[in-house]
Amino acid sequence: MFKKMSFLIVLVLIIFAFSSCSVVFQSRDGNLGYFPQASGRPVGSFSESGELWFIISPMLFNLNDTNLKLDQLIRTGLSPYRADFAKNLKIVEGYTFVDFIISYFVPIIGRETITVEGEAYQQ
C-alpha cells in the first residue's frame, strides 16, 4: 500500500514538474508557413501578444488555445501595414507579472502570455 502510494505521489510530482514546462506552437487554419526565401518590401515590424489560460498545465487543459492560433496573432500584426507576409518571426512564451500573480494565487488555474514579433513585408 505504502509502495503504491509512494509511486503515485512520485508520478504526480513528475507530471506536474515536467508537463507544464513546454507548449507546442502551431497554426490552426493552415495559412501559416515559413518561407525565408520569399522576397518583398519591408513595411515595418510588429509585436502581438495573447493570453493563454489553462488549468494545471497548458498541455493538460488548455482553455483558449492561444498557442495553436499563432496565425491570428500574426494576421493582427500585419493588418495595420496591409502586409502580405511576415519574416523573422520570434515566438516567446512567459509569465508577465500579472500572469504570475494570477497563477500563484489560483494554483489550479494559470495564465501565461505568448508574444509573436516579426517584420511585415508587402509583395
Binding site: 510530482l13 514546462c21 513546454s22 507546442v24 509569465y95 507579472f97 500572469d99 497563477s103 494559470g110 508574444t115
Partner: protein, 164 residues
C-alpha cells in the same frame, strides 16, 4: 506537419537568441509555515508550539547577482504579529522555458521582528516544483537560540516576460 516543425524550430531559435524579452529581475511570493525547536516539541507532543506563518515577497534585482531580498509579514502562534526581512542566496537554480523555477537550492537568512516576538534564523532550502511558476520549498535550519527549525512554503517565482 512541416509547418509545425518550422514553428517548433522558430521557437527554439527564439528561446536561445532572444532571451532579452524576459526581465533580469526575479519576483517571488511565498506563504511559509515554520516550526522552531521541532524535535523537542514533537517529542513532547506540543505540535502547536513555536509555529510561525509568514507571507514573503522576494525580489532579486539583476545587480545583486545570486542574492535576493525578502520582505514580508507574519504571525507567531496565531497571536504575535511581526515584520519579516532577510536575504536569500541562490546556490543552485534551474529554470524552465518560461523562466520559472524547475529546481532550486537556497540559503536564507531571515529576521522576524514584532512587538512580542523576535527571531533570527538561517536555513537551507530546496524547491520542488508543482507547476510552471510555483512549488514547495522545504527548509531546515537553526534560529538565534540554536534551536533546530524546519519550514514548508508554497513558493512561486519567475523572471517576468516583458511585452511591448
Amino acid at each position: 506537419m512541416k509547418k509545425n516543425i518550422c514553428i517548433f524550430i522558430l521557437f527554439f531559435i527564439t528561446f536561445y537568441g532572444f532571451a532579452v524579452q524576459y526581465s533580469d529581475d526575479y519576483f517571488g511570493l511565498s506563504l511559509e509555515f515554520q516550526k522552531a525547536d521541532f524535535i523537542k516539541n514533537l517529542e513532547s507532543k506540543e505540535y502547536f508550539e513555536s509555529n510561525t506563518i509568514s507571507f514573503v515577497f522576494t525580489y532579486g534585482p539583476s545587480f545583486s547577482g545570486p542574492v535576493r531580498f525578502r520582505i514580508g509579514a507574519g504571525v507567531h502562534e496565531l497571536s504575535d504579529y511581526y515584520l519579516n526581512g532577510g536575504i536569500e542566496l541562490k546556490v543552485l537554480e534551474f529554470l524552465n522555458t518560461v523562466k520559472g523555477r524547475v529546481f532550486g537550492l537556497y540559503l536564507n537568512a531571515d529576521l522576524k521582528m514584532g512587538l512580542d516576538y523576535v527571531e533570527a534564523a538561517i536555513k537551507g532550502e530546496i524547491f520542488i516544483p508543482f507547476s510552471t511558476v510555483g512549488g514547495l520549498q522545504i527548509g531546515i535550519g537553526v534560529n538565534h537560540n540554536v534551536e533546530p527549525l524546519f519550514s514548508v512554503a508554497y513558493s512561486g517565482g519567475v523572471y517576468p516576460l516583458q511585452i511591448k
